[in-house]
Symmetry: C2
Subunit: 200 residues, 2 copies
Amino acid sequence: MAEPIQFYFDFSSPYGYIASQLIDAVGAKHGRAIVWRPILLGAIFKITGMQPLTEIPIKGEYMKRDFARSARLHGIPFRMPDPFPFSGVAANRAFYWLEASDPVKAHDLANALYRAAFARNQEIGSVDGVIQIATQLGVDADAIGAGLQSAEVKDRTRAANDAAVAAGIFGSPTFVVDGEPFWGADRLDQVEKWLVSGGW
Amino acid sequence: MAEPIQFYFDFSSPYGYIASQLIDAVGAKHGRAIVWRPILLGAIFKITGMQPLTEIPIKGEYMKRDFARSARLHGIPFRMPDPFPFSGVAANRAFYWLEASDPVKAHDLANALYRAAFARNQEIGSVDGVIQIATQLGVDADAIGAGLQSAEVKDRTRAANDAAVAAGIFGSPTFVVDGEPFWGADRLDQVEKWLVSGGW
């Protein structure tokens, strides 16, 4: 079996959302599993000195236009969340808590959280917002509530972010195919070429 | 006649170089002229707070890998210039000086400067470096030497940059098609789709 594709993303990243709606089909087409790895760009920005795209003068206005235009091109529903950016901490902890017992449902939760935030402008930046989405997938509210408070889950979430940084991840989305990193939802065409050719 | 495509680029931009080797063919294919507009990202970064890609921790290493990989994908010769980044001031002034009398030759000069810098690691950051390339195209060394010192040419170069900023340009390359901006050499596929469809 070929190596899975690593898919790193931040829940507050519009391009991460766009990629999330496309990556599973890419994996299925090329016989690769996708390992979803939520990251926290806020923590990574402290290392790189980068800042949220929409807060950069001039560039910010362009990016908002490009988010919507890129989503339209792929036929993906998109609304700019308000407020934006929002914290992905609760969403990341929920993912890593659930993944330990049920990786498939953790993937479904990530998908549901992204769609809630970027297709319906539903709030996923808080613990309550995340629990609401999770319970709609049949996750027990008390269990996830306890999970989100667990020191072990907090440590696991932090460790996942540290591992991403150690792997050279600085932005969302990033795909790693057989050790080769590709940054940006607009690199999926190159990801597919790499999957077919093994490189160039 | 359809509107020309505006092509904004910084001479020290690797993706600007890659785009420069592709954009004329895109214009020819779709019956559009290309208006080449050198900009100075250093001045624009003072407004946006951005910094050269290669100087950003973690991201910088990825970008160097992506420059070379993107060039290989398109079959474009590429060597990382050393030193990098370098000043595009002399190159911009040479372009705007020459464009006033001979726009076609100014385009050829821009192409020659880019290839010197990114295919042959030839120094184009200085007045002498730029004059050397220009004279190979038959430009008179004394004339361009005087042009590069001219207050009028300096003003024209600055005005071109101010006009780019006023048009919302923050990065290199940026293409503007019928008023629609596309940032990044990797947006040329969308530029082509836009040219065919008129938008989506």
